[in-house]
């Protein structure tokens, strides 16, 4: 029941927030987000590490199509749920005044859509029925569309449309595979969309490959990966930074989550068959994302594109099929969420002060606003994989796994660390150091509220940087089960 509550709370919250008077809408919205956070923590306390899929609920939904309302969490799902419930209140607090700015659609709409997005994302991470997953996967797009289109900079309508078309295209391609899975199960005599039923099927090689392609394209668009990443930078540039956090740190995780859950879980043979291509695409994403990020002038585009590089790492970790790689990838999904959220939110605070997102027009912020600059630096160093900050651990795990897989793959991936240091530090240098911007008022430093919003993220980065064991304890049993289904033992090589 707790998972249903977890989904219903923000959903009801969205509806309530949409109808209450605008004066209290923000408080009501935040209240529901806080309640969801509590529910998420309660769910986590009921979870027993290593017992596979838990807190399950299964009800028949559409009998004639074999669809179930089925929920459950395993290690992967739990971490994604926690990441979501933690980030949403932070985003709300950070966007407290921003959504009411002239030209935006008002804080009420922002809070309501955010809660709607949270509800659908939580459903995605807990669904154990393929069709239910698909339904909520697509349903996340509606709040996301209105969040992008309704708030942010000029040209956001176009960005929202581009985002939606990419995602819908991916979704529809996946739909063919979803139906394909169903037809396979019907031919086997038990038409069902339940993941547990589908995982038991013995799907022939050719069918598996086609189904894999359908799923993978959708998840690659979502993640995003080269060459279907082009919606990413436009979206993060035009949307508010709060929306970008929701999109990049939560919603995009659905892509890599789906790869683990569906590609590896249901179509293991095809996943191995596709490995060479996927690894090449992941490497291109890693290098290309970093290179393009270096060349950006817009802070928000830059941060968006670094995610392309990071998602490349995650996908690489997943598809090298070793315990280091998978654990590193899942850990990376969490750490990337925290680090990128920090980057986006600090950048948002910065842009509100300077009035521009253009790196060329900034400079000298460090002197006037040392705290802001400090947060910005930590965010950048986290993205660059500095030891002591949590992304370092996950990046190391993935790179070690990449070298185990093949030394060429490892060497290419390592390059990205150099590039990441370059884009992070160069951005810092151009915006924060140097002379003041001519004729501009000095930047006001972060106030207490803003520091309070950013502090939990910073603490998490440090904590998991020095002590990632709590996360790995949750991740490792899942990785063990996942690799076993692909037919690979814990040692990292095929058996």
């Amino acid at each position: 029941m707790i998972l249903t509550v977890l989904i219903l709370l923000p959903l009801v919250g969205a509806l309530v927030t949409a109808v209450v008077p605008a004066a209290v809408a923000r408080l009501v919205g935040l209240g529901f987000a806080a309640a969801t956070l509590v529910a998420g923590i309660v769910a986590a306390t009921q979870y027993h590490v290593g017992d596979g899929m838990q807190l399950t609920e299964t009800y028949t939904w559409i009998d004639s199509l074999g669809v179930h309302y089925a929920l459950g969490v395993d290690g992967l799902g739990l971490l994604m749920v926690l990441l979501t419930v933690v980030l949403v209140p932070i985003v709300m607090l950070a966007g407290w005044h921003e959504a009411d700015a002239p030209g935006n659609n008002g804080a009420k709409a922002f809070f309501a859509w955010t809660l709607g997005l949270e509800a659908m994302s939580l459903a995605v991470f807990t669904a154990t029925d393929v069709l239910l997953f698909y339904v909520v996967f697509e349903a996340t797009l509606i709040p996301a569309y209105f969040l992008i289109g309704g708030f942010g900079r000029a040209g956001r309508g176009r960005a929202a449309t581009k985002f939606l078309i990419y995602q819908l295209a991916g979704g529809l391609i996946m739909l063919a595979s979803v139906i394909g899975l169903y037809v396979v199960s019907a031919d086997a005599g038990n038409p069902s969309f339940l993941i547990s039923d589908l995982a038991a099927l013995d799907i022939d090689e050719t069918t598996q490959r086609w189904l894999f392609v359908g799923f993978f394209i959708a998840f690659a668009i979502k993640a995003p990966m080269f060459p279907v990443h082009t919606w990413l930078a436009d979206t993060t540039e035009k949307a508010t930074t709060g929306t970008s956090v929701l999109l990049v740190c939560i919603l995009d995780k659905i892509g890599t989550f789906g790869m683990l859950r569906f590609c590896l879980g249901l179509l293991p043979d095809a996943s191995q068959w596709a490995t060479p291509v996927v690894i090449v695409l992941a490497l291109i994403s890693i290098i290309y994302g970093a290179l393009v990020a270096i060349g950006q002038d817009d802070v928000l585009r830059l941060i968006g594109l670094t995610s392309l590089s990071h998602f490349g790492f995650i996908v690489l970790g997943i598809f090298v099929f070793s315990s280091n790689g998978s654990s590193g990838a899942i850990l990376y999904m969490v750490n990337h969420g925290i680090a990128t959220a920090l980057m986006f939110l600090v950048a948002g605070f910065l842009i509100r002060r300077t009035g521009t997102a253009s790196i060329r027009e900034m400079g000298g912020v460090e002197k006037a606003a040392p705290v802001l600059a400090g947060f910005f630096l930590v965010g950048g160093l986290a993205a660059a994989g500095l030891p002591g900050l949590s992304p370092f651990v996950s990046e190391m795990l993935v790179i070690i796994a990449a070298f185990d897989h093949h030394w060429v793959v490892g060497s290419v991936a390592v390059l990205a660390i150099v590039l990441a240091a370059f884009y992070a530090l160069w951005m810092y240098q151009r915006t924060m150091t140097g002379p003041d911007r001519v004729g501009a008022a000095p930047v006001v430093d972060l106030d207490r509220r803003e520091v309070g919003i950013l502090a939990p993220l910073l603490l998490a980065l440090l904590l998991f940087g020095f002590y990632p064991m709590p996360l790995l304890d949750v991740i490792n049993p899942f990785v063990h089960d996942s690799l076993a289904s692909v037919g690979i033992g814990q040692e990292g090589g095929p058996q």
Partner: protein
């Protein structure tokens, strides 16, 4: 020469059909004898009463249909075997009647245009003449539209239930002729409306000719017009194959014209745009439902054994319809034309479902059949379409409805509810989950895939992406674009239109969230009888 046998008429089973026909005839009498002042009320009450009575009849008959033959299907062959009252017929009857009730409500709307209906004051008055001005000044309106609608409904019910080619042809004509007339009756932009009516009539007459020619050739092949005998003849491979093939092709032309499949789609944008919006709403929803019922009956019942000769044709036509419809819809600047082309694309999606497996012995346990999938899709499509056109009739400026899409910019701020409802209908047409359109697509794609028509399904997925772009673009205009000039204004509808829109939206939502009951109903409808 065989002796003439007087056919027995199954009054109970045919009740819905007879009530609608009776109400239509009575409507003509009302028109002739009642004074003008009470005609509107009388006609609306008569039409609604007849439709509701018929709908009750459908429910009663539906609860009491005997098993047919070996028990695989249920139904009765009525009037000497010319009308098949079976599960699919009853489902379609119920659907057409429900859509017709919504249609009457839209026809009766008078509040949007300052106290008069959407129909011309005096159709015979030439546009721009004194006679027209006089009719407008006198606040006249044509109440003949209600009996015309009822005749069309009668045709829509007879068409899919027909069990021989001749009855099917009669159904086709009875359904079409009133619609040709209704299309030309718009109060505003009359020339456009009359042009639409003429185009529709001429092309429709041609297509009927094709159908009749096809019927004659198939008769030449089988020696009978009756579907069971045609099926028997196909199985036994008696006559000349070329007669059968050409006949099948010509019959298809007639039927595919009615559903607006490519390459017979040319009439749809003009007619959808020119016809009064209530007529467009009713026609777009009702005709498609009825004609797909007829298509399934003809292809499954009469020509089922000849599957391998018509299936490739439908493959190609389905793919063409989806792509041409979706691609041309993108280029449209008028919302009614856009919806017309989107209906062409939907024709392609429904045809995808027609390509699936239809008989219970071909299906795995628990799999859904083609008939079930197509019937469900028709229900979802019908209500979303009628609702969407009803919304179109609300958005107006001083010159009547504003159908230019760029004039809809800013609707999201001007009238959040109307914009949200329209966006919801568009999302349903795009097949977004939690709307009926998604479950419909899921159903038709599954049956097609189960039948091995994966190239069509892949094409359908690609076409859906193009179509999604088109709907999203309209949503973007409504919500995120700056209004042009004063922006659109939304007329406040009377309870009639409001009910139609609300019910359409509610059904679209319910069928998306809990489609189980209707899917089961379509499953209970079972197979066609012959």
């Amino acid at each position: 020469m065989t002796e003439f046998v007087k056919p027995s008429i199954e009054y109970f089973e045919l009740w819905p059909l007879l009530v609608v026909f009776g109400a239509a005839c009575l409507g003509v009498v009302v028109e002739a004898f009642l004074p003008r002042s009470v005609r509107y009320t009388a006609q609306v009450v008569l039409a609604l009463g007849g439709l509701v009575l018929a709908l009750v009849g459908v429910v009663l008959v539906g609860q009491d249909v005997p098993e047919y033959d070996d028990g695989a299907a249920r139904g009765v062959l009525a009037v000497g075997g010319t009308i098949a009252v079976d599960g699919p017929s009853l489902f379609i009857w119920g659907l057409v009647l429900a859509l017709a009730i919504a249609g009457v409500l839209l026809f009766a709307e008078r509040q949007l245009d300052g106290g008069v209906s959407a129909f011309a004051g005096q159709a015979a008055a030439v546009p721009g003449t004194d006679a027209e001005a006089a009719s407008i000044a006198a606040n006249r309106e044509h109440t003949e539209v209600y009996p015309l609608l009822m005749f069309a409904v009668f045709g829509m019910m007879l068409f899919p239930a027909a069990n021989d080619l001749l009855t099917m042809f009669v159904g086709l004509e009875v359904l079409s002729l009133p619609l040709y007339l209704l299309s030309g009756l718009a109060r505003r932009r009359r020339l456009l409306s009359q042009e639409a009516a003429l185009k529709y009539f001429l092309l429709g007459a041609f297509s009927s000719g094709f159908f009749l020619y096809g019927a004659a050739l198939v008769y030449g092949f089988a020696g009978s017009l009756d579907f069971a005998s045609i099926n028997e003849a196909v199985r036994n491979d008696v006559g000349s194959q070329s007669l059968l093939l050409i006949g099948t092709g010509l019959l298809s032309v007639g039927l595919l014209f009615k559903v607006g499949a490519v390459p017979f789609q040319a009439w749809t944008p003009d007619v959808y745009q020119g016809a009064p919006t209530p007529v467009t709403a009713f026609m777009a929803a009702g005709t498609k439902v009825a004609a797909f019922g007829a298509i399934m009956r003809l292809f499954y019942v009469a020509l089922g054994a000849d599957r391998w000769s018509w299936q490739p044709m439908l493959w190609i036509i389905a793919v063409l319809s989806m792509f041409v419809g979706a691609a041309l819809a993108i280029t449209q600047t008028d919302i009614k034309r856009l919806l017309a082309y989107s209906s062409v694309a939907h024709t392609g999606f429904i045809l995808t479902g027609v390509l699936g497996l239809q008989a219970s012995d071909q299906l795995a346990v628990g799999e859904i059949s083609s008939v079930q999938a197509v019937l469900f899709y028709l229900a979802t499509y019908g209500f979303a379409t009628i609702g969407a056109f009803a919304v179109v009739s609300l958005v107006r400026d001083s010159g009547g409805e504003t159908t230019a899409i760029d004039r809809w910019a800013g609707l999201g701020k001007e009238s959040p509810v109307v914009a949200a409802v329209f966006a919801f209908f568009l999302l349903a047409m795009a097949g977004i989950p939690l709307t009926s359109g998604f479950v419909g697509k899921l159903a038709v794609f599954s049956v097609a895939l189960a039948a091995g028509a994966w190239p069509v399904v892949v094409a359908a997925v690609l076409a859906s992406i193009i179509a999604a772009f088109l709907y999203v673009r309209v949503i973007k205009v409504m919500y995120f674009d700056k209004p042009v000039g004063d922006g659109p204004s939304v007329a406040y509808p009377s309870v009639l239109t409001a009910t139609t829109i609300a019910v359409g939206a509610a059904i679209t939502l319910v069928l998306g969230v809990l489609p189980g009951p209707v899917l089961d109903l379509a499953a209970v409808a079972g197979e066609f009888i012959r």
